[in-house]
Symmetry: C2
C-alpha cells in the first residue's frame, strides 16, 4: 500500500508533455461522410468550387426574357410591344431563341433563353393573348444573375478546419457535393477498475459502489469530439489489467483507465506500462488528481485517471480536453471556455500544489463548492473550476478569478 | 404568376404567432435513454437520490480501521499497539469485528468494518507481523466518510431542464441509474420543391441546380436539437404537394417545405394548407424572406420557406430556431447567441420592411456581406446577421450593432 511516484511533476510540465505525446504519436485522420449528416464536423480539406454558380445566366424575377434593346424607350405611356413565343419555367429549357421583336415568358430561377439578355418583371408588363406590352426600359442583364457571378469554378470556397454549420453545408450542397472529407473522431476507450465497482443495472452489494468514471469520462470525451466507448470493468490485478489494455489498444488509440482507489490501480498500471511501453508522467502536483499516470504503448496513449470521479473529471478537463479536441480538428474553434467573476467565499489552498476548486457560477458571483473531493454530488451543481497556483495560500472573498467551465 | 399574400405581417407579430402555434400544438415529449449516451440531452424529470451516498461508512485513506478510543494518547514517542485481525480491500466485506485492542487493515474506499469508527493512515502506523503501532491520536470518524454524508436518499439531485454534462451524468451513474427520461428530439421533416431541383449524386442538366435547402435546413434543425430528416423533392404541383405533405405528416410533427422559386410553391402550398388545415401567416414584412407561409394541419406545423437558401436560412434562424429549441427542452440553455460590434461599411436598407443583413465577424469589426440574396456563397463566410428595423434607412460605418450568430 502507498504509491511511489516516479517524480511528482508540475502542472505546466505535465500539460506540455501530454500535448507533445498527442502531437508525436497521434496524427489527425480523416473520413468521408455524407454532407447531409455533417453538422458540427470539421473539414479536413480545402474545398474548391466544381462549377460556376449560378451554372447558367439565371432569371432573378418572374417576367419576360427579352433583348434589352427591345425595351429601350418603353414607358407606361408608350409601351413597346413584343410577341411572346414561349414560356420557360425554372428547370426547363427551350429550343426557341429570343430575337428582335420576340420574347419568352420566364419564371424566377430559369435559365435565360438564347438571345435574351434581360428580364422585364411581370409588374412592368401587360400580357394580352400572345403579346406583351413592356412598360419600362431594361438595361442589359437587368434582373439576370450571370453564370459564375456568385462563384466561378475552381475557387477556394471552404477551408480545412472550417466548422460545418448549416450555411457551409448549404454551400457544399449547391456545388453538388454528396460526401466530404472531415476529421475523423479520435478513437477513445475507457476501462474502470476496482473490485468494488458495480455496473448500473446490477444489484449493489454491501461495500460496493456503482461505476461512475466509465460513463462520465466517455461522455466527456464525446463532448471533446471523440468517438468514445466504455470498455468494461477490470480487477486491480496485474494480469487482468495487462490483458485488458492489450485488448483495448487493438480497438482504440487513446485509453483511459480509472481506478476505484487512488493506490491500487496506479501501482499496477505503472508496472504494466513499464512492461508494455513507457511511462512519461507518474504523479502531477495538483489537488485533486495527484495519482495521474500517462504512458505510451506502441504509439498509443494510456492515461490512468484517479478513481475519485471529481478528480478524474478535473484531470480530464485540465490536461486532456485540449489535445483531444485538437486531434479532433476542433482546436481552432475550441476555446477552453473561461469566464471571470468574483469569489463569494474565501478559499484556503494547500501551498505546494496547484489546486482545482469546483465552483458554481451565478452571474458575476463565483461560489466555491466546499466538499471533500470524494463528494460526487458537488457535480450536481458545479459549473467549472478555479485554478489556485501552488504558491497561493488564500483566495479572498471578492477577489476576481477565472473560471474554467465544464462542457 | 405573382403571389397574392394573405396579409403581409410585421416581424414581431409573425414571431409571436409562430411561438404560440408551437406552444398550442406541440407539447414537449420525453423518451427513456441510456445514461451512458446522454451527453447534451435535457432532463425531462426532477431526479431524486435513490440511496445514501456513500452507501456505507467509507474509509477515505489506506490505513487501519480502529476504535478511535484505542488511539487516544498515541504518538511517535509512545505508540499504542493493536492486533491486526484482518485486511479489507475496497469492495470486500468481513465478519470480523473491531473490538478494543484490535484493528483491521483497510484500503481507501472499503466499507468500515463493524466496531471501527476511525482510520489511522498508513503514514502514521508501523506494522510488524500481526501487530501495528499507532503513532498518532485519531478522533471519531477520522478519515471516514459517513454513510449519506455526500447525499441522503430522497434528495433532489438534478432538475427537469438540466443539460446533461459529464458531471451530471456522473451523478446519475453514482446512483445506479441505467436509463433516464429526457426531452425527446422534436420530429422535423424537410421537403424541397421545384422542377429545377436535382439531388447531389445525379448529373446536373442545363437549367437545373442542386438542392440546397433540404440538407441545409435539416442540419439547422439538428443544430436546434431536433431529429430531422430530408424527405425528398416534389414538383410544384398541387396534387403532388398535397400527397407529399399528407405522407410526411404521418412521420413528423414539423414540416418545412421550400420552393425553388418564390412564387411557385408559395401559391400551391397556400391552397393545400387552406384545404387540409389553416394558414396563419402568408408573407412576412422582411427582406429577404417575404414569401414565408405558416399553417397548421391536424395539430402539426407546416412552414413554407423561401426557395432562396440564404432567405430560407435567415427565416429559419430568426423565426423558428427559438420555438424549436424550446420544444427540444433546451430553451433554458439556449441563448440566441448575440454579440456586439461596429459596422465597417455603411448599410442601406429599404424602408418599410425589416432587413436581415448577412455579416462576417472579425473581432469587434462587423463586415456586411453585400451580395444579391440569391448568392449562396455569402454563406461560406457569413457568421450571422444584423437586423435593420423597418424604419431605418441607413446603418452608418462605425455604428454599434448586434449580430445574431448562426449555429
Amino acid at each position: 500500500m502507498g504509491t511511489e511516484f516516479l517524480k511528482i511533476m508540475e502542472c505546466d510540465d505535465a500539460s506540455d508533455i501530454i500535448r507533445d505525446l498527442f502531437d508525436e504519436n497521434l496524427k489527425p485522420e480523416s473520413e468521408q461522410i455524407n454532407v447531409g449528416e455533417a453538422y458540427g464536423r470539421i473539414l479536413f480539406e480545402d474545398v474548391y468550387s466544381r462549377m460556376d454558380f449560378p451554372p447558367f445566366n439565371k432569371a432573378l424575377k418572374d417576367g419576360f426574357a427579352i433583348l434589352s434593346s427591345d425595351s429601350f424607350g418603353a414607358s407606361e405611356e408608350s409601351p413597346n410591344t413584343l410577341e411572346v413565343i414561349d414560356f420557360l419555367e425554372a428547370g426547363a429549357i427551350t429550343d426557341n431563341k429570343v430575337e428582335e421583336g420576340k420574347c419568352i415568358e420566364i419564371s424566377t430561377g430559369a435559365a435565360m433563353p438564347d438571345g435574351a439578355d434581360a428580364v422585364v418583371m411581370v409588374e412592368y408588363a401587360e400580357k394580352f393573348e400572345d403579346k406583351v406590352n413592356l412598360l419600362t426600359t431594361a438595361v442589359p442583364f437587368q434582373d439576370v444573375a450571370k453564370k459564375g457571378s456568385d462563384i466561378e469554378e475552381g475557387k477556394l470556397i471552404l477551408k480545412k478546419g472550417d466548422f460545418l454549420n448549416p450555411g457551409k453545408i448549404g454551400v457544399l450542397l449547391s456545388q453538388g457535393f454528396e460526401t466530404i472529407e472531415v476529421y475523423k473522431k479520435p478513437s477513445v476507450g475507457i476501462l474502470s477498475s476496482g473490485n468494488e465497482i458495480t455496473l448500473q443495472g446490477e444489484e449493489l452489494e454491501y461495500g460496493k459502489i456503482y461505476d461512475v468514471n466509465g460513463g462520465m469520462i466517455k461522455n466527456d470525451a464525446v463532448s471533446c469530439g471523440a468517438d468514445a466507448r466504455f470498455l468494461g470493468v477490470m480487477r486491480d490485478d496485474y494480469d487482468e489489467v495487462k490483458e485488458k489494455i492489450i485488448e483495448s489498444l487493438n480497438e482504440v488509440d487513446i485509453l483511459f483507465c480509472s481506478g476505484g482507489t487512488s493506490a491500487g490501480l496506479g501501482d499496477v498500471l505503472k508496472h504494466v506500462l513499464d512492461e508494455l511501453g513507457e511511462v512519461y508522467i507518474h504523479g502531477i502536483s495538483v489537488q485533486p488528481g495527484k495519482p495521474t499516470i500517462v504512458g505510451i504503448i506502441d504509439g498509443k496513449i494510456v492515461i490512468g485517471l484517479p478513481g475519485n470521479p471529481v478528480s478524474a473529471l478535473m484531470i480530464f478537463n485540465a490536461f486532456v480536453a485540449e489535445p483531444l479536441t485538437k486531434l479532433a480538428g476542433i482546436d481552432k474553434n475550441f476555446e477552453m471556455k473561461v469566464i471571470k467573476g468574483k469569489i463569494t467565499k474565501r478559499i484556503h489552498s494547500q501551498v505546494g500544489r496547484m489546486q482545482y476548486q469546483l465552483v458554481k457560477v451565478d452571474g458575476e458571483n463565483i461560489l466555491p463548492i466546499f466538499k471533500d473531493s470524494g463528494a460526487i454530488f458537488s457535480l450536481s451543481t458545479a459549473d467549472g473550476y478555479v485554478k489556485i497556483p501552488k504558491l497561493v495560500e488564500l483566495v479572498d472573498e471578492g477577489e476576481e478569478v477565472e473560471v474554467y467551465l465544464f462542457n
